[in-house]
């Protein structure tokens, strides 16, 4: 995936951020409302960019927001606020 959709990334980061705890793949996919192949593409992209980490030490694989992902979430919120604030007629 070359150019991920910023809306989907925002939804992904927000889902993991609001949950606060690592989540199962199925639960994330359900909250995201994406089909499996699209969801997997985004998950792979986020893992490759270090925004999400995988915890496979337990019985089930869990996915959570990495410190870099947390930082990206806050930068996204700041970018939205600053962009809106800078909009001038």
């Amino acid at each position: 995936m070359e150019k991920p959709d910023l809306y989907v990334l925002a939804r992904f980061l927000d889902t993991l951020y609001k949950n606060g705890q690592p989540m199962k793949k199925t639960n994330i996919q359900m909250r995201m409302g994406l089909n499996y192949s699209r969801f997997s593409e985004y998950l792979d992209w986020l893992l490759a960019h270090g925004l999400v980490f995988k915890d496979d030490t337990g019985d089930v694989e869990l996915y959570g927001l990495s410190p870099r992902g947390l930082d990206s979430y806050h930068r996204l919120v700041d970018w939205i606020r600053d962009t809106m604030h800078d909009m001038k007629i």
Partner: protein
């Protein structure tokens, strides 16, 4: 969540709520500006149409030596004014039909005010506000034509030289069109670059 992460979450929510407030103020301002410009455009078109009708009907009536206008100055002015009012009303109606998406923007703002705003809603709102702003800026391209027409009639009538009036009108039109398009393209490019840079920085 730990107290640190709760604080961070509250801070993120506060920033998004502040953004909704900014968007609301910006939408209200854009609506006022759009309404004001619609009224101003209708008045300008009415004034230009009045002068044009005065000139056109005057030329026609003197060319055909019609007693209808010269015999009845009140009727002549009523006809000129009726043409001007018709032009102003149609301009007003046309511009109102091309309304900016304020209703959609307001519903998005209200939706975000009701629940907790998410970054995805924030992105959608920023995009919508940006589109409305661009539409407002693009409207200035239409206005350039009327600035040109006003310049043409002012110079043509008071200078009593149609050729100079026409040249002035074209120059004024091209100048304002160039300014409006430049502003539109700069704003559009600036926003897209900022969005692309941010996406690449993730």
């Amino acid at each position: 969540m730990s107290s640190d992460s709760e604080e961070a979450a509250q801070s993120a929510n506060a920033k998004l709520d502040g953004m909704v407030q900014d968007a609301e103020e910006l939408c209200a301002f854009m609506k006022r500006k759009h309404d004001g410009e619609t009224r101003a455009a209708a008045v300008s078109v009415g004034a230009v149409a009045w002068l044009a009708a005065l000139f056109g009907l005057g030329v026609i009536s003197s060319a055909v030596s019609s007693p209808i206008f010269f015999g009845d100055p009140a009727g002549f002015f009523v006809a000129v004014t009726a043409i001007a009012v018709a032009c102003a009303v149609s301009t007003y109606a046309l511009r109102r039909r091309r309304r900016l998406p304020f209703a959609e923007l307001n519903s998005l703002v209200n939706k975000m005010k009701e629940g907790k705003a998410s970054p995805e809603d924030g992105l959608r709102l920023v995009d919508s506000v940006h589109e409305a702003m661009l539409a407002l800026k693009k409207g200035k391209v239409d206005d350039a034509f009327w600035y040109g027409a006003v310049a043409f009639f002012l110079v043509g009538l008071f200078g009593k030289n149609v050729a100079v009036g026409l040249l002035t009108g074209v120059i004024v039109y091209l100048y304002f069109r160039h300014e409006a398009l430049g502003e539109y393209e700069n704003e559009s490019r600036r926003y897209e670059e900022s969005k692309r840079d941010f996406a690449q920085s993730l």
